[in-house]
Structure formats: C-alpha cells, structure tokens
Symmetry: C2
Subunit: 167 residues, 2 copies
C-alpha cells in the first residue's frame, strides 16, 4: 500500500510518501511545503492544496493519513490549524481518496514508544526505522511517522490502538 | 463593483453575489451551500470549494468578502470553522481574487445598526435594504450583509470603521 502522510501547518506542511505494509515500509519521497509570510493566508492555503494535488498526481497514493489536532494554545491557533488541515483534505477529496486521522500522541507512542516524544526523537527514530541516509526535517519526519502509523494500522488490532478515524 | 460574500460553515455556507458601490447595491444571486452529515469532512470541504469556484466562474466577482471568526465555544469548533473558512479562501486564490475579512460584529453594526443583532434582524434588514421579495435564509442574509459591508468599504472612511483586513 502507498500512503501520503501529511502534517499540516499554514507556513510549513510536512509530507511523506511511504510504501509498505504493517511490518515494513520505505520512503519514496518526503519534504516540507514552506510558504513565505509575504503570501496572504488565502494564497498559502491554495499553495498547500496545489502541492498536495501534485504529490497525489505524481505518486498515486492509495490513501491519505493526517495528524489530528489535540492541543492548541488559543482559538486563533485552532482556526489557523483547522484551515491548514483543510487544504490537503480538499486535495485528497478531489481525487476521491479516503483520509484517515490519527492522534499525534498515539502516533508518537506507536513509532517512538513514548507519547510525549519531542520532534528530534521522532526524526531520529524515523531515520532509523526507514533507513534514511540523513535525519529528515522535523515536519517531514512527523509526516513520515503518521504515514508509518497508517501502514501499521492495516493490521486491524493496530488500527484500534491507534484510534484512527475517517475524515 | 461585483462582490462575492461568504459566511462559511462546514455543513451550511451562506453566499451572495452583490453588485453596486458604497451607496447602493443589488443582489444578483444568493443561497446556502448545504452538505449532508453523511459526507465526510474532507468531501464537505471539497464541495464548498467547488461550489465557490462555480460561483466565481459564473458571476466573475471582482473581490471576495468573508466573515472573520471572533468568538467560538471550543477549540473543536474553532478548528472546524477554520477548515470551513479555508475552502472559499482556496477557491478565491485559485482565481487570483483578493479576499477581505470583516468582523461579524462590525458588519452587523454597519448593516443593522447594532453589533449584537440576531440572525432574524439581519435577514429582515437585508430584505429591506436590497428590496428582496422574500426574507432570505439566515446564512444567505449573513453573506449578503458581509458583501454589503464590503461595498460600503469602497469608501475608505468606512473601510477603517469596518476594520477590514486582507486574508
């Protein structure tokens, strides 16, 4: 199965294309969609949507996995995160792809073994698990962790533990 | 000037196409984009985006005006509202249209004369101001109020009072 993992944020969205199953996986592509502050919010969201569409056209993933939002400092942040999350959801729906959401805490628990792992620990573990020759940027590592959790969830017991839901 | 006004929400997005200037306006089209609960969130957002694109293609507005989010009960609501707001922003940016945001309170103050006006009062006043033969659905009336405020804001003094900002 081929999965597109997304860790969305208005100015810095991590993405990853992973192929494999619940026991093994390899990274085909990963990176960070960076939008400079001079671009207004509407243009930034459109750019994330277009980038996601391009990734889907190029890599033809079977499904999409995205990080759920659990904790936010303020309503302002929540609104901005909700908007950033909408852009890849729209791109996925345009291609008729199903999107699954995972709690960031459960993804970290599954991948690093600790729900409170920090960004460096996730990047370090992802590098080891996928045999990458470099430590990935942390937003891309988060996207790979989500995609990896989604591949693990092809085992139904893991899907329950990971508390996944369709969005 | 022709303006597309949008009052976004995941399941019920009001829209309005108004033409005019700061002193007079008429409604060319208005309505509510309703998405049934059986459609997942990603499909709902995609549908709002596509509907907005269709409206832009049909009516060719010069600018887009959208309601800002001021008060929300919970982070969950804020995330959902942020997502709903992203869909028309993406559609507008795809056509290179500038989007202006207005505070709902200031729009009500400008149109009804009272920042705390309820939905019925807005719909009643919009019907009178635009000479409509029916009382519009409240979500459509909100979108017309935003579009009307935007036309008023073509007078720079009004733009300042309305506290508008580009998004």
């Amino acid at each position: 199965m081929r999965t597109l993992g997304i860790d969305p944020a208005i100015r810095s969205t991590g993405y990853a294309i992973l192929e494999g199953d619940h026991s093994s996986a390899r990274a085909l592509d990963y990176g960070v969609i960076t939008i400079p502050p001079r671009i207004p919010q509407s243009g930034a969201l459109e750019a994330i949507c277009t980038h996601t569409r391009n990734l889907i056209e190029k890599w033809k993933p079977d499904e999409v996995a995205i990080e759920g939002i659990i904790y936010v400092q303020s309503h302002r942040t929540a609104i901005s995160m909700g908007a950033a999350r909408a852009a890849p959801l729209i791109a996925a729906a345009q291609f008729g792809l199903t999107v699954y959401e995972y709690s960031p805490k459960k993804v970290k628990k599954a991948i690093v073994g600790k729900g409170t792992a920090d960004k460096n620990q996730v990047a370090f573990m992802i590098r080891a698990l996928l045999g990458l020759s470099e430590t990935p940027p942390s937003d891309a590592a988060d996207a790979m962790a989500i995609a990896l959790a989604h591949l693990q969830a092809s085992d139904p017991r893991r899907a329950t533990i990971l508390d996944r839901r369709k969005v």
